[in-house]
């Protein structure tokens, strides 16, 4: 993980930049010219309660790179854990978190990125699921407009496991939320969803790489974004179906609304298929709000700002509706509505 190395060794030449194909839309090398000082220690006890604390049995806090580094779920156990990645100040920090859900265990992971300042933060997560284990990971990224955040999750699924993820972000100065999944097939199921709602000069990059290694695996992906002002959204989704991974069923959708002339969305959906008998599809649309639908709503008496908010909320709602954990789903809905009603 080069971002982590750049932070730990205070060597900006190790940051990925536009010459790296996978990072060309999220150039950190060009943005950060000087290695920031390491972040000052931060007392987790001094923090106010997090968004998801009330829903969780355990709250794990990683504050400026330090703190709880492990979440474990025993066989057959079911748990709801809040994981808070907190950044304060203008320094740099990196952290590793490992999450092990053993066979038949069930975890709801409610993860937040909470930032204040012009920090550089990297978090590496290793998430492993045993046979028939299940995880629903909901990520709410509330970074500072001046912050730079990189989150890199590596997910290992065992056969029969179910992994579902929804990443919701308001972006940052530069932000990359990346998920790499090794999919063993064997009737394991995967859902990878995302929502980005960006304004000002915020940037968010949702990157996923899924490798189907063997037969009978499913992947379902739906990412939607709304960008306005001079914001920039990036979606990179790659699904690789290895030779012999027959009967893979993979679907990827990315749809974005651009609400101003200077906002931008870059999307790269990729399917790399080396197996013969697979069912794979992807769809990608980027456009403006439907002016005809907007006029229709206004003709019925709905003022323009309300009509725009209603249509964009409905657009994003399709992703939020897929969140399984109901209280988290409602928090996500409110979060989205607040961002869309401007």
């Amino acid at each position: 993980m080069t971002v982590a190395a750049a932070i730990r060794e205070r060597d900006v030449s190790k940051l990925p930049g536009k010459r790296d194909e996978d990072w060309r839309w999220t150039d950190l090398r060009g943005l950060i010219r000087q290695a920031p000082d390491p972040s000052a220690p931060l007392d987790a006890a001094s923090l106010a309660a997090g968004t998801f604390d009330a829903l969780a049995e355990d709250v794990v806090v990683v504050a400026n790179g330090h703190g709880g580094a492990h979440v474990g779920v025993e066989p057959g156990e079911a748990k709801v854990v809040a994981l808070r990645i907190v950044s304060r100040g203008d320094g740099a920090h990196a952290a590793r978190v490992s999450i092990d859900v053993e066979a038949t265990g069930h975890l709801v992971l409610l993860e937040t990125y909470e930032g204040e300042g012009a920090y550089l933060s990297q978090t590496g997560l290793l998430i492993s699921l045993g046979q028939d284990a299940s995880v629903e990971r909901i990520v709410l990224a509330a970074d500072d407009a001046e912050g730079v955040t990189v989150s890199q999750a590596e997910v290992e699924l065992a056969p029969g496991a179910e992994y579902a993820q929804t990443v919701l972000t308001g972006g940052a100065r530069r932000q990359r939320l990346q998920t790499t999944v090794r999919h063993p097939g064997g009737h394991a199921g995967l859902r990878l969803d995302g929502v980005y709602l960006l304004d000002g000069k915020r940037h968010a990059d949702l990157t996923t790489v899924v490798t189907h290694a063997a037969v009978h695996g499913t992947t379902e992906q739906l990412t939607k974004g709304v960008v306005r002002d001079q914001a920039r959204g990036v979606f990179q989704g790659r699904i690789v179906v290895a030779q012999g991974a027959d009967h893979t069923d993979a679907r990827m959708g990315h749809h974005a609304l651009i609400l101003s002339d200077r906002a931008e969305v870059d999307a790269k959906p990729e399917l790399e298929i080396y197996a013969d008998d697979v069912s794979c599809a992807h769809g990608n649309t980027v456009g403006a709000l439907d002016e005809d639908a907007l006029f229709y709503a206004r003709q019925r008496g709905i003022p323009e700002p309300d009509a725009r908010a209603m249509l964009t909320e409905a657009f994003i709602g399709e992703v939020i509706d897929r969140i399984g954990h109901e209280p988290a789903r409602e928090i996500a809905r409110v979060w989205a509505a607040e961002r869309l009603r401007v």
Partner: protein, 249 residues
């Protein structure tokens, strides 16, 4: 009620309406008939304020109030309702949510209290039953996957619930079979009253067998070129628009 005077309007700088004058008094139903391209849909969009339709001259008022100065939603709150020729699909917004949002927005604009949820549901159930619309359909995203006839019925349902003062029906009969047409027409006729005016825009006379107009106007070349009683519609059905197209040219 509705008073349109010497209205000129252009779309992408092409003149479509060229001095249209029309009076629809309260309590009356007027039909606008005309060949394709005469400006029928343009008239409905100009009256409701769709962007891209530029008024270059003339006026349009409802009960003396200048409609053209108002935003589309303000016109709706004043009571102008357009039943669209092609109703839009609104993905992700249940029909009930859409209609309640619209109704409350109109009420708010008029300084009235919002309708309560139980009152709203009671009203929706009653109107849906009158229009033979399955109530469960109102829980689905508005018009998404609905048939042409269902969409038109949904327009009439919204009309019945929003209770507008002035109704514009743009080609409401298109895409309807006879049974659906009868239901839609019954819905429209139920709204006829001394305080309401209606403008029924249609290419064919068929709809006027069900919604009987007080006056019929022929729109051709962007102007009203002939007006008469209901018999004019029958004459048009028999003889076509040719002589009016020539008159306009």
């Amino acid at each position: 009620m509705l008073s349109v005077s010497n209205l000129h309007a252009a779309v992408e700088e092409k003149a479509i309406l060229k001095g249209l004058t029309l009076e629809v008094p309260a309590g009356e139903v007027h039909a606008i008939m005309g060949p394709n391209g005469a400006g029928k849909s343009t008239l409905s969009y100009v009256l409701t304020g769709r962007s891209g339709y530029e008024v270059t001259e003339g006026s349009a008022t409802l009960n003396g109030e200048d409609l053209l100065a108002l935003e589309p939603n303000e016109r709706a709150a004043k009571g102008v309702f357009l039943s669209f020729q092609y109703p839009l699909e609104i993905p992700g917004v249940p029909a009930l949510t859409f209609i309640r949002t619209a109704l409350n927005a109109q009420r708010k604009a008029r300084g009235e209290a919002e309708i309560t949820a139980p009152e709203f549901l009671k009203l929706a159930r009653a109107k849906a039953a009158e229009l033979k619309i399955d109530f469960d359909m109102l829980k689905r995203a508005l018009n998404v996957g609905f048939s042409g006839g269902e969409k038109k019925r949904m327009e009439i349902l919204q009309m019945a619930m929003l209770s507008p003062r002035f109704l514009i029906l743009d080609e409401t009969d298109s895409g309807l079979d006879i049974d659906a047409l009868r239901i839609v027409a019954d819905g429209v006729n139920a709204l006829r009253g001394p305080d309401r005016g209606m403008l029924v825009i249609t290419h064919y006379q068929r709809l006027l067998d069900y919604i009987k107009p007080d006056r019929v106007h022929v729109l051709s070349g962007g102007r009203i070129v002939a007006s008469g009683g209901p018999e004019l519609a029958l004459e048009l059905e028999r003889e076509g628009y040719d002589k009016y197209a020539r008159a306009a040219a």
